[in-house]
């Protein structure tokens, strides 16, 4: 599936995502750009891992 670049307005940073982001030096601004697949578009672990695996495209 193609991933559209949208700003994730409902950015919910779970402790786990926070931990992953820190390890990879991903800023909150960058986090906010990752599309979330959780409830109401919230970011889940798999979303940020996918984003990292994709080479942080945006």
């Amino acid at each position: 599936a193609t991933r559209t670049i949208v700003s994730n307005e409902n950015v919910f940073v779970s402790p786990l995502i926070d931990s992953i982001a820190r390890k990879h030096h991903i800023s909150y601004e960058e986090i906010a750009r990752i599309p979330g697949t959780g409830t109401k578009g919230r970011l889940r672990k798999k979303d940020i891992m996918q984003y990292i695996d994709d080479g942080r495209p945006f």
Partner: protein, 458 residues
Amino acid sequence: MSKYDVIVLGSGPGGYVTAIRASQLGLKTAVVEKESLGGVCLNWGCIPTKALLKSAQVFEYLNHAEDYGLKATGVDKDFTAVVKRSRSVAEGMSKGVQFLMKKNKIDVINGFGKIKPGKKIDVDGKEYSADHIIIATGARSRELPNLKQDGETVIGYRKAMTLKEQPKSMIVVGSGAIGVEFASFYNSMGTEVTIVEYMPHVVPVEDEDVSKQFERSLKKAGVKVMTGSSVEKVEKTKSGVKATVKTKKGEETLEADIVLSAVGIKTNIENIGLEDVGIVTDKDKIIVNDWYQTNMPGYYAIGDVTPGPALAHVASAEGITCVEKIAGMHAEKIDYSNIPGCTYASPEIASVGMTEKQAKEAGYELKVGKFPFSASGKASASGAKDGFVKVIFDAKYGEWLGCHMIGAGVTDMIAEAVLGRKLETTGHEVLKTIHPHPTMSEAVMEAVADAYDEVIHL
């Protein structure tokens, strides 16, 4: 011909919950059931077994009254009364579902339902139609060819919870949740119980530490455990049965009054019209997508009849998800990696997520913590020091990969781990969540602390 928005075939915890949620969402709903409302769970599964196990627990207390500074002389069980209590609890629950059906204005159609093309259901000759047909016909006890259930010497779970007389000795084949719950119950009641398990450990889906601890507890309680073994043959004798068991060391013969076969389930997919409609099944299960749609539009399936863990809470959650999607809600897919499993034997077992072995095999580097109840103040005060909480974290990001508990009351404690994992916690938050003292639940916090070398009471 009556027309519904939704017809649910089967009224187990899958079916009746689905029907209630559908009705809440404004859908005109009917449920078809050939037996008592509530399915296996309420009538022959979750509920009546827990009632039996409660009697067993109380019986243990009676037998150990002195440990608590108390006295009781003529302690005995009335097996018939224990069974009767269990049946009356089950009946009460089934009546409760009846009430819920009425309250939610759901039509209950009694009889054997068979789905037909064109989104119709035939119930004993009468036809009903719906926009959405949800199959929730569940499952029954699986029969092995060399362990045919005759209802007398080789029995399944239904018979095992309604025996007229308590057997003096029993062979339980299979040590999954159902097998060990019955083994635990009958052992507490004074039956001589032998468990025969094919796998190298009892409760083989659990973390190995849990399996080992559980086996120790079973043996301490007097249950004979044969792992890596299988029943080859069962013969009737004058007084009961003779079972030929293949063990690692060769063949062994066991004699007992009765054999309980608890080797898994077989889905109810026969004669319900799947072939007529053209619904695809595989390995005894109806194949569905994330929203429980079968390959045929308008036909859905949930619960034991589909792949995934055969558990009541899964059946209910699947049904809710299925109708929320049908109703056009922003439904949420079920995360099958976060389903708790519980065994209500003595001691209880509860777990969620990966076992240590699974996590290692998945390539994670781990932080593992364990806190035994022997170090818990509440457990000491309660005289329930057996067991532990084990937690497994990914060392890299701190993800809570798995939580495994064995001990008194743990089936009510696992929810914390399930919610924590749902909210993508790391160990840190659990550790800094102030757990009340003195409780068994402190063991969760301490186990996490142990994983991070911060444990206090070890």
